[in-house]
């Protein structure tokens, strides 16, 4: 994976840049010693590492603006960082960049139950947003699996999803406003307690722009009343194809579960060996969760079970208690950890039309054989967001490259069948060079033109999202 050659002129000016940043930020907010900048050398895509020039940790929007002004004047690239949990390398530094971390911006500014909104600083973690309102019966819906650690800032940058977005949508559907610092340090406000835009929908554009248009420092988020209850059912099938048909039939029936999760045999076996959730040893397993009052849950589950039974499941397990529900979810929630016990893995994030599920699973199995690398599949089946986990051995010469090549082939397949490269993780550096598989040069050019408007000097996260060859003339 290629990154731009660091700008020697910037590296030579490190002392001055650090001093200027120190002059506008509180003591301890500029991290520049080599042993300390190492902390910021990568995010959750640990295969690629590079310590930044320095990192800054401002505590207020005004401090973010002050730091941005310095970087703008010095012409230094800025890589924004939430909690550093990106699986796509969204926060991967270059040697000549300043990492702008928002971790110290983590306050709740306002909770407003009458209007069902919460205003937070963007460094606050996803789960602690819910934590701030759950005693009063509310929650923040998007629930990426990293929600304990990941920051709202990163959620906005990547338009994060989660297991429950089939019903509640992803970040962009739950984001009502932002305060954002522009590349030149100007502070702007977009949206707020009201719905939709009065003019062009800039909020929709900013959400998912991977930190390339501005630094979001505050967010107004929609919160919802917690459902009265929730209960899953587990269904096992001896064929992926049949499981796929079952998903489609449930959706067609008009019932909207909050989650439909899918695991294949390699994943089931790995999680069984890891946590012993008592899953059946079968080809495909669905976990379907519904919400509501007790009678409503029973009503929905009985309809789902009737549909599932038409597809001759090898196992059908309805949860009868909180404990049983937790056990059904245990294996799914431990899936990544279980796969990680077997070997190193790379987690993909392509989305496909649900109808193409059987074809795509068959082709992945074939490719897995061709490459000689095992692939486990665990994903959000209701919305077609796949997470193939490719197992490889990082210590084995050439295995990472083989894994990357297989991953690229799988993602191209997702695009071929009408899907996309990434459903909720973002492009980052990981899928940057595959963008041409989904978009024509003209489709990409108009996106670059959008960045030109927000960040004319191309200082914000410049080496991400688009192939380097495409951005070459624009990057400083």
């Amino acid at each position: 994976m290629q990154m731009p050659t660091p700008n020697a002129d910037i590296l030579a000016r490190k002392g001055r840049i650090v001093a200027r940043l120190q002059a506008v930020l509180p003591a301890g907010a500029v991290i520049h010693e080599e042993r300390e900048t190492k902390v910021y050398e990568c995010d959750a895509l640990t295969a690629y590492k590079c310590p930044p020039l320095c990192a800054v940790l401002p505590e207020t929007t005004e401090q973010v603006a002050a730091a941005m002004r310095v970087c703008f004047e010095e012409g230094v690239p800025v890589v924004p960082r939430g909690a550093g949990t990106s699986l796509a390398g969204g926060a991967l530094p270059t040697a000549d960049c300043v990492i702008l971390g928002v971790a110290r911006l983590n306050d709740v500014i306002e909770t407003d139950y009458d209007n069902r909104i919460i205003r937070v600083q963007a460094g606050r973690t996803n789960l602690s947003v819910t934590g701030a309102v759950e005693e009063d019966g509310f929650f923040y819906a998007p629930d990426p699996s990293s929600q304990l650690a990941c920051a709202i800032a990163g959620n906005i940058a990547m338009n994060s999803g989660g297991a429950h977005c089939l019903k509640y949508g992803v970040t962009t559907n739950n984001l009502m406003g932002v305060k954002m610092v522009m590349a030149d340090g100007e502070i702007i406000d977009i949206g707020g307690g009201h719905l939709d835009a009065g003019g062009l929908d800039l909020l929709g554009l900013i959400c998912g722009s991977e930190g390339q248009l501005g630094i979001v420092t505050e967010a107004t988020l929609r919160i919802l009343a917690k459902p009265e209850g929730a209960r899953p059912v587990l269904v096992g099938f001896d064929s992926n194809v049949v499981a796929g048909h079952c998903v489609s039939d449930i959706i067609k029936s008009g019932i909207l579960p909050v989650a439909i999760e899918f695991m294949d045999r390699p994943c089931i076996r790995a999680t069984e060996a890891f946590v012993g959730a008592g899953y059946p040893d079968c080809e495909a397993l669905l976990i379907i969760e519904v919400e509501g009052a007790e009678a409503e849950i029973n009503d929905q589950l009985s309809r789902i079970i009737a549909i599932a039974k038409r597809h001759n499941p090898v196992e059908l397990r309805e949860s009868g208690s909180e404990e049983e529900s937790a056990k059904i979810w245990l294996g799914r929630k431990s899936a990544f950890g279980a796969m990680g016990r077997i070997n190193d893995y790379m987690c993909l994030d392509g989305t496909i039309p649900v109808s193409e599920l059987p074809l795509v699973l068959r082709r992945i199995a074939e490719m897995s054989k061709e490459y000689g690398l095992d692939v486990g599949n665990v994903f959000h089946a209701g919305d077609g967001n796949m997470h193939p986990l490719i197992l490889f051995d990082a210590n084995k010469e050439g295995d990472l490259e083989k894994c990357e090549a297989l991953g690229a082939d799988i993602l191209r397949l997702c695009v071929e069948v009408g899907g996309c490269l990434t459903g909720e993780h973002g492009v980052g550096v990981e899928k940057r060079d595959l963008m041409g598989a989904q978009y024509t040069p003209e489709d990409l050019e108009v996106q670059l033109a959008v960045k030109d408007v927000f960040d004319p000097k191309w200082l914000l996260n410049p080496a991400k999202v688009f192939p380097l060859s495409v951005t070459e003339g624009r990057r400083a």
């Binding site: 509310f138 949508g169 702007i188 707020g192 998903v247 009503d299 077609g384 899907g419 978009y439 108009v446």
Partner: protein, 385 residues
Amino acid sequence: MTPTTEQELAEAVASATGPLRIQGGGTRDIGIPADGTVLSTSGLSGVSLYEPGAMTLVVQAGTPMAEIDALLAAQGQRLPFEPMDHRGLLGTTGTPTIGGVVAANVSGPRRIQVGAARDFALGVRFVDGSGQVLKNGGRVMKNVTGYDLVKLMAGSWGTLGVLSQVSLKVGAIPEVEATLVARGLDAANGIAALSGALGSPFDITGAAHLGPDTGGDDSETRIRFEGLAGAVAYRLGAMADRLGGDWTVVEGAASSTLWQQLRDVAPFADADIVWRLSVTPSSGPLISAMLAQNNLSHRAIFDWGGGLIWLAPDANALPDGGAKLIRAQMAALGGGHATLVKAPVTLRRELSVFEPEPPAIAALTTALRHKFDPRGILNPGLMGA
């Protein structure tokens, strides 16, 4: 001009020598009409793909809404965001199209629960101001590949590009619907009840308060429930108990009619001037009260739990249709945006139909328009300078 293929559309834009007035069915005569050649997308019609089991629909932009509604209904599905039909309110004729719905980000009462047109738009194909065919997004429900220009196109009123195709997420028509109705509440108490409902776990899909002079004999506060029969019955009862007071139940077709009339703002069909305000819900009744205190007497319908105000100033309203006062009160009470949805063209030309933007935002908007439409030929001036 009425091109019948995307290629013809692209050629029509590329070869244009002056401003173009972009139209779907021409039923949403909002904003400052551009002087120019009419370019209609009504010739780009038809369904490219419909997969009920994947909840996805891909259609040409000029496809009539009625065709889409019928197609989806045959499979027990619909467009959940409940797009308004503007013909009654604006007195227009013609055939509303899906392209118009997306281009104007048109939603209805259910927006408060499920989201707007922009939330259901999965992908777009469009022709930019240079005549290039571009695409963004796709036809899957989760997609973060590159910038989300789908959101930007939704609600851009044809000023960034001419939509040729849209992909949408669809949803199921519920088994039953029913509405709780209370009469005689004032706006403040009505909105407070709606706020209580929307803060409950009962999946409210409509929450509106209609002032006493908006069609009924008295004010009406409405709360809609949709879903499985058992669940709706349970939630209705639990909600009425929780709210207290006197609530009656309207079911089935009668309930649908109530919401369809509200969706289309039928009570204001006779008004000459109609504003649409999107505000923080609890500010809704305060803004209305402040306007009345400042001699802008008006009728008001509050949808979206109070956050959407349809406001019809009385005939002898201020010469500017209340523009200055409305926008000042709104800004003072939590912000939002006010659009002059209905007014004589002369008045529209004098006023900002769309909410004026702060300088920094206006600069971004102008620069974006210039990138998408360097010659400034797509509906120039429709959304303001």
